[in-house]
């Protein structure tokens, strides 16, 4: 076999913080052969994107390569002159960014940006590359391929832009493409069609690719081999099937195990029991436009109701109606059989206390200028009237409850905590009010998988101990599978389907639920191929949604 296309040896990269250089990548090797797809996975801060860019001989501002070598097809990229590198970039090495909406220049049409690389690198004439662009759009199954390129980026949807960017990367038929989390910002039903398009085109042109992602199930579909990174170090590398079936390192095993966490099924609810929370026929509007239509569901004591749906489906709006931030136009909310005032300002302290909330972004949910003790202590004092030593005792108990060492954390500021720890503080603040019911709004979606699993386990433990009820808002069906007792599926402000979890994951269901469920990538490397065979190539993603 010939030399690898990309050969990285002992790559060391440093980033600048506070005027000093700290290592980000501590000596990573990488080999990639022609036509091969390497999946680069790891949690945030693992250095995936940095390595991806370094493979192009590129570093961002404030980052520098401090050692090692990067060779592309025998060319030393680190020693090459700027002109030589420019000759390779765009022509033989291309890049697909995470946010296509931000990475397309808003001032130019898609096709003009598409033809830029071929014309500037003298690969083909403008008219040739326009034709080729239209052909690529067609192959990537973009709607109206003849016309879509003549639009401006803001006139095209996110999933379509992501495919247009893949087409742009293909414009010079490069030997290597770096995909940097291309589907992370997309909804599941959109993600699937982008994945299918990318995989097909890479296969068709036999292009080598580095596919960067944090999502194991996605990388299982795309890659021939997988490299796992942790904090700038390589954990292990193997071909995809071996890696999935028999990981050798503990870290990799723990990543894999996250997917298998699932709570035991609880006994069914008595039909006579009064639900803790009842959402009764709620219709709500922002301004004059209704965003929720006649939403009804109950949440019973000690149970978790997962509300699922894609962005814009009205999940969070429902939560705002329950807490009273957005008073419903029609319908009402009951706590324990008692009808609540619609506006939170009209509710009394005890009514406010009953429903607590945990937010998605722990960063914005905790006041950065207050110590942990103050943040948790405030509801203790406000609702329970505890002061001084009693208050401190209660705060310490709460910290112990969320598995943080009280004396060590009580005087810290939120900025001195990790993401998962901040989310735990958010939980403690909700617990401090001694509520019966907690709304969890996408609490794990901003966290790395292992950390998220810890949070889910903590929430489950607290539910068992304190008999709490949860409304769990999420778009991630793996989370639903792990923690929910009941599921409410929402789409465009309406409840599409609701019921026990077990029933929801068994067919038959509403076609939208079906689509949503089947679009969630699974760890099986054949999942995408099977699904495409099942649905037919033209019946995925937006196309499938439109057909409903």
């Amino acid at each position: 076999m010939s030399d690898p296309l990309v050969k990285i040896r002992d790559l060391k990269i440093e980033g600048r913080s506070d005027e000093t250089w700290t290592p980000i990548i501590n000596g990573v090797d990488l080999d990639l052969n022609r036509g091969e797809v390497l999946g680069l996975i790891g949690e945030s801060g693992a250095g995936k994107s940095t390595i991806g860019l370094a493979a192009m001989g590129f570093t961002r501002d404030g980052v520098r390569i401090s050692g090692g070598s990067v060779e592309f097809d025998g060319i030393d990229l680190l020693g090459a002159s700027a002109a030589v590198k420019r000759g390779l970039l765009g022509k033989r090495i291309a890049y697909v960014a995470q946010s296509a909406a931000a990475s397309f220049n808003p001032a130019h049409k898609l096709i003009d940006q598409h033809t830029e690389a071929p014309t500037q690198h003298n690969v083909s004439s403008r008219s040739e590359s326009v034709q080729d662009g239209v052909e690529l759009y067609r192959r990537l199954r973009l709607p109206n391929p003849d016309e879509i390129g003549f639009r401006y980026p803001h006139q095209v949807s996110g999933g379509q832009l992501q495919r247009a960017m893949t087409a742009m990367a293909m414009s010079c038929r490069p030997d290597l493409i770096i995909f940097d989390e291309p589907t992370t910002a997309l909804d599941v039903t959109t993600q699937i069609e982008v994945l299918a398009a990318i995989r097909d085109i890479v296969e068709q042109f036999d292009t080598a690719a580095i596919y960067i992602t944090h999502d194991l199930a996605v990388v299982a579909q795309m890659a021939d081999k997988i490299k796992v990174l942790l904090k700038g170090d390589e954990v292990e590398e193997a071909d995809t099937r071996t890696m999935l079936s028999a990981p050798t390192q503990d870290y990799t095993k723990s990543l894999w195990a996250v997917r298998s966490f699932e709570r035991p099924k609880k006994p069914a609810v008595l039909t006579t029991a009064t639900p803790i929370v009842s959402v009764c026929g709620v219709t709500a509007a922002y301004g004059k436009i209704d965003v929720l239509h006649d939403v009804s569901f109950d949440i019973h004591q000690g149970r978790t109701v997962a509300v699922v749906g894609e962005s814009g489906s009205g999940k969070s709006t429902t939560a705002r109606c329950i807490t009273g931030l957005l008073p419903p136009r029609i319908g009402h909310i009951e706590f324990d059989g008692v009808e609540m005032p619609l506006d939170y300002r009209k509710r009394n302290k005890d009514q406010l206390r009953q429903a607590q909330m945990i937010y998605q972004m722990a960063d914005t949910a905790l006041n950065p200028r207050k110590s942990i003790g103050e943040i948790i202590g405030r509801p203790v004092e406000f609702y329970m009237g505890l002061k001084g030593r009693e208050k401190r005792k209660r705060v310490e108990d709460l910290l112990a409850e969320i598995e943080l060492e009280p004396t060590q954390y009580i005087d810290r500021l939120p900025s001195e905590l990790s993401g998962g720890q901040k989310q735990r503080i958010g939980i403690a603040r909700a617990l401090a009010a001694e509520p019966k019911f907690i709304i969890c709004d996408e609490v794990t979606s901003a966290l790395d998988q292992l950390v998220a699993e810890g949070i889910l386990k903590l929430l489950a433990k607290l539910q068992d101990e304190l008999g709490l009820s949860y409304m769990f808002i999420t778009h991630d069906l793996a989370t639903v599978r792990a923690i929910a007792d009941e599921v409410v599926v929402m789409k465009d402000g309406e409840v599409v389907e609701q019921g026990e979890k077990a029933a929801m994951f068994q067919p038959p269901h509403h076609p939208y639920t079906d689509l949503l469920l089947s679009s969630v990538p699974e760890m099986d490397p054949d999942w995408l191929s099977n699904l495409l065979n099942e649905r037919g190539v033209d019946n995925i993603g937006d196309a499938a949604v439109d057909k409903m």
Binding site: M56, F58, R60, K85, R86, G87, L88, L89, G90, K91, A94, Y95, A97, S99, A102, S103, F104, N105, P106, A107, H108, E116, A117, Q120, H121, R151, Y152, H154, Q155
Partner: protein
């Protein structure tokens, strides 16, 4: 295209309303004078006859709303009233002052020309320099050049205009007699004559110093913001030359912020002009304004105030509309 026209029309209407409100504020402010200002202006030497004469002359015996509407109506037609000095003169001499010599408009018109010339010259020097330097500091940010420029611009922003003016006089007029320190331009000098140019150069340079600093810093911030965009990184990753990245990818998007910066700073010139004109004894509106303030010539003060405010609003409006027009999202709606 219809959408953008609508937005522009809205902004224009808003500008008109603002101007209208501003005229009310100015009118109300002037009417805050205790008693009426005929009395106040004449002060100790007021005789009942002279007070009555001024009152009639200025129409102070009628209700404020009528006076406001009349003042506004006249102002729109270009009649800004009679200067107090003229009214005083007529009050004492008994002749009808409204006729013939010296309306406010006649006082202001030639000075307005001069001020526009001064501001225009400053802008012509300042805009190209500051945009070039602003882009350069953004491209070479955190270099020694950038830091030196930062110190320079901070210092010149911080200095009062008269300090900069005296420094320039000191070095360019007194120690090295290159330019005249007095800007006694007059109506005989044609608009494009070199004499007028040379005499205006020193005040124009002073204004340039102040405005350049502001404009440079704002341009720099706008460009840095832009260069951090993912699409600029994308262009570089497509192997485009630095020149092409700037011209093709950064510039079309930088246009809006830069135009904004320019218009905002031209608006800033309006304030700067007042002090600089006084230092150089330049016969512009600013000097007239300050002189009138000192002798409390209310009609002239009112008129100057209205002109300055109108220019200020107009420039801010231009900035607003330009940035709307240059925004591709608005130019090509979905």
């Amino acid at each position: 295209m219809a959408g953008i026209l609508k937005i522009v029309a809205q902004r224009l209407a808003l500008g008109l309303i603002t101007l209208f409100v501003v005229s009310i504020i100015i009118f109300v402010a002037v009417n805050l004078l205790p008693g009426d200002f005929a009395e106040a202006i004449l002060g100790q030497g007021a005789t009942p006859e002279s007070v009555a004469a001024i009152r009639e002359e200025l129409g102070l015996d009628r209700p404020p709303v009528v006076r406001y509407l009349e003042w506004l109506g006249n102002a729109v037609r270009g009649d800004l009233g009679t200067p107090m000095s003229q009214a005083l003169f007529s009050a004492y001499s008994g002749s009808n002052a409204g006729s013939g010599i010296g309306t406010v408009m006649e006082q202001i018109a030639p000075r307005f020309r001069n001020t526009v010339y001064l501001a225009g010259l400053s802008a012509a020097i300042a805009v190209p320099i500051s945009i070039t330097l602003g882009i350069l500091t953004a491209l070479y940010r955190n270099s020694a050049f950038d830091r030196a420029m930062n110190i320079f611009t901070l210092s010149s922003i911080s200095s009062p205009e008269f300090f900069l003016a005296y420094i320039l006089i000191l070095f360019l007029a007194v120690l090295n007699p290159i330019l005249p320190s007095l800007s006694n331009v007059n109506a005989e000098m044609s608009f494009w004559s070199s004499e007028r140019f040379v005499k205006t150069l020193l005040p124009a340079l002073t204004l340039t110093l102040v405005v350049t600093a502001h404009m440079m810093r704002m341009t720099r911030a706008a460009i840095i913001n832009l260069l951090a965009s993912p699409y600029i990184e994308m262009a570089r990753l497509k192997g485009m030359s630095p020149m092409r990245v700037i011209v093709k990818h950064a510039l079309p998007n930088a246009l809006a912020p830069i135009i904004n910066v320019v218009a905002l700073n031209l608006a800033y010139l309006i304030t700067g002009v007042v002090v600089v004109e006084v230092v150089f004894v330049y016969p512009g509106i600013g000097q007239l304004f300050v002189d009138s303030v000192k002798i409390r010539d209310i009609p002239v003060v009112q008129a100057c105030c209205l002109i300055f405010a109108a220019a200020y609003i107009l420039l801010n409006l231009t900035a607003d509309i330009m940035s709307i027009i240059s925004n591709p999202r608005l130019r090509h709606p979905k």
